[in-house]
Symmetry: none
Subunit: 412 residues, 2 copies
């Protein structure tokens, strides 16, 4: 259950429920219904009653904040047929959280220490809104904040384990994702047709495609088995089957491995440092790289030269058009030199919506430099501003990855 | 109602319901519940029964395809207590659609011509799955395909008008969002308590808070009125009421205006150019700035100096710790100098998870430079890596915004 009028009005898309459904599936817990309801006491109460009547567990997301429209606590008390009681110890913990950030606590926030009688507070408490565990008849309701990271910490840190404990052993669903770049969804589907038909016939696993923009085109295998070890064995085998069919270099990572981490790992293993020079992407590539923990071993920095003169002054780009092969080559070489790096990538282009430098929107020049050798190429994307940037980011990182792979191969 | 097991498993996020909710709001039709259910006949039937018992109109999205797991038609017939009947004319139209695209029709697709007795076919029929209008007691169920563009054409092209016709004249709902930074949700709620109580009593509009990370803390007013002009007039008035109560400088934008666009606009109006020097944020601030169309007028670029030596070499950061006041001041000054900008912002800190440079994770030094004068301050965030970056990004942009506002004020 997701609570919030903004969800019904379409002002916020409910991604929390999707995440929770995926998480529950990985635990082997079937998710049968997901309902959104507005900030209305009577309708939250009615929805809770329907939910506890048909499910063993209910996760309610949102409406636990300090403001008067946060009424999930009240609805829970109503369904349980009890009163709210202020938990003095909890009030103290909430006040301390404000104090530690050097902020004074508005009186409102004490509402968050109100707990329905008979309910317990979820031990994991990452933000300022505590979560609740409420027994209702045979069912258990978990109330968590709508703030995604707080909800996720509570789910993975405590609720999952509590559900499994209460449910006894359930069967396990596991997925494995192979992340690819360089082939279309239709092309991959054609190559993997035989594998998919065999899986369909045997029912031992399923295979699905998921186009995920800058995260790559994902090939996801899902297996259900009595134990985690059995599911993992099926996935190992089927992963091998997929890898035998499609070209090895299309796959840049599995599960949560990003293109950025693949590139950083390759650099690290070869003892190479990395720099970037970005115009079109404006720092997006660097920001993706530093989001990987431990990036500092490899990544030196980025020169985001958005204005033409900064390209010339900092990177030695010669006079002439700045969306050109000459410019992008100078940028890649300049990045290595200025930032003291062994390899680099560089990007310059026209994000749009208007043409620039005599080039159409979507025109991008990309270059990589490895061991002082620069290669460059031009691509024209048929996308909007944001997607042009994103596809450029994963595209140029993939080119560098392929060069680093070839280099490691040659060194063997 | 959205039908599809992939929605419950989190493999696809249900954006159809969000779109439908927003569309209905614009027509003045209240959307009270949105439910997702899997491809299971009994559960679709039960969900439909709950839905028609509590609503005048129900839109069911998905499960109208040709494959055996498409069973929305069967569930509708069950709820209506009738049989499915193959509609010969409809079968003909479906076959023609294939024929016109030069494709042969798989036999399966004839299932899409099955219509519950007493139901009608929706006249708008853009894809290959026809939509249905099913009377169930006092309620009307509209069944539409899950393919977003087909669903949208049916909604805007026929269903909206049919609903309005059946409902009599309905009213219009409009929203306006004030984006704020610098005060907690509880603090704002306390200040706006009087406004909210007055709105609650009069019922002319509602006010809600929405913590949206790097997008700010949003204050959203929603008004319902007979006409769009009336709703806008209420919003104008209540926006003024909110602005009278909370400090003017907390509000950085309305609706889709971001902190980045606010800063770029202030620079543009004062004829100032902008540069950034980023360590902790690794280019995130620059990437947010260049995502605003027209940023190139103002934004010169960014020096993403992730490695310590690059800070010293490119920005003149002196020997000593690089997470320090001295370092961040040198970075802000160096960014203006190297990138030829009038003002700048600079960030250095410890993203975590490990401590660095003798500082705890979450420790951030931020500086802004305006007219050659640098101000700096230190903040410790209790967040993870990614959130520390995001809060640093909006926080430092907001500081620059406040300095630029003060500068413009002084110049008047």
């Amino acid at each position: 259950m997701a609570v919030g009028t903004e969800l019904l009005l379409g002002q916020v898309v409910d991604t929390n429920s999707s995440w929770i459904g995926e998480h529950l599936a990985s635990l082997g817990i079937d998710s049968y219904y997901q309902t959104k309801v507005g900030d209305n006491l009577e309708r939250i109460r009615a929805t809770l009653e329907t939910a506890v009547a048909r499910s063993d567990f209910v996760v309610v997301c949102g409406g636990l904040g300090p403001t008067p429209d946060d009424i999930t606590r009240d609805a829970l008390a109503a369904v349980m047929g009890v009163d709210l009681r202020r938990d003095a110890e909890l009030a103290d913990r909430i006040a301390q959280k404000f104090w530690r950030r050097g902020r004074s606590m508005p009186g409102n926030n004490l509402r968050q220490a109100d707990v329905p009688e008979g309910a317990a507070v979820i031990p994991i408490f990452p933000g300022t809104a505590p979560g609740l565990v409420c027994p209702v008849g045979e069912a258990v309701v978990y109330a968590v904040p709508g703030v995604p990271w707080e909800m996720k910490e509570m789910m993975t840190g405590w609720i999952s384990a509590d559900m499994r404990r209460r449910a006894g052993d359930a069967s396990v669903i596991q997925s494995r994702t192979l992340r690819t770049w360089g082939e279309s969804e239709g092309g991959l589907a054609e190559q993997l047709n035989g594998v998919m038909e065999r899986l369909d016939a045997s029912g031992r696993a399923t295979l699905a495609f998921l186009a995920s923009g800058m995260e790559g085109l994902k090939v996801r295998l899902t297996a259900k088995a009595a134990t985690a070890a059995e599911a993992a064995a099926i996935l190992d085998e089927e992963e091998q089957a997929v890898r035998t069919v499609i070209a090895e270099q299309l796959i840049f990572g599995t599960d949560d491995e990003t293109m950025e981490s693949a590139v950083l790992d390759l650099c690290r293993r070869s003892g190479l440092t990395l720099a970037t020079a970005e115009s079109l992407t404006g720092g997006m590539i660097a920001a993706r790289l530093v989001a990987v923990p431990g990036a500092g071993d490899v990544f030196r920095g980025s020169l985001v030269t958005y204005a033409a003169e900064t390209k010339r002054h900092l990177l030695g780009v010669p006079d002439g058009p700045v969306v050109s092969e000459e410019a992008v080559r100078a940028m890649a070489a300049g990045a290595c030199e200025q930032l003291g790096a062994d390899c680099s990538l560089a990007v310059t282009g026209v994000a749009g919506p208007a043409p620039a430098d005599g080039e159409e929107p979507g025109t991008v020049w990309m270059a990589t430099s490895v061991d002082g050798e620069v290669t460059a190429h031009r691509q024209v994307f048929p996308f909007d501003r944001e997607r042009t940037r994103q596809f450029t980011t994963i595209g140029i990182l993939n080119q560098l990855r392929l060069r680093l792979l070839a280099r490691a191969e040659a060194a063997r």
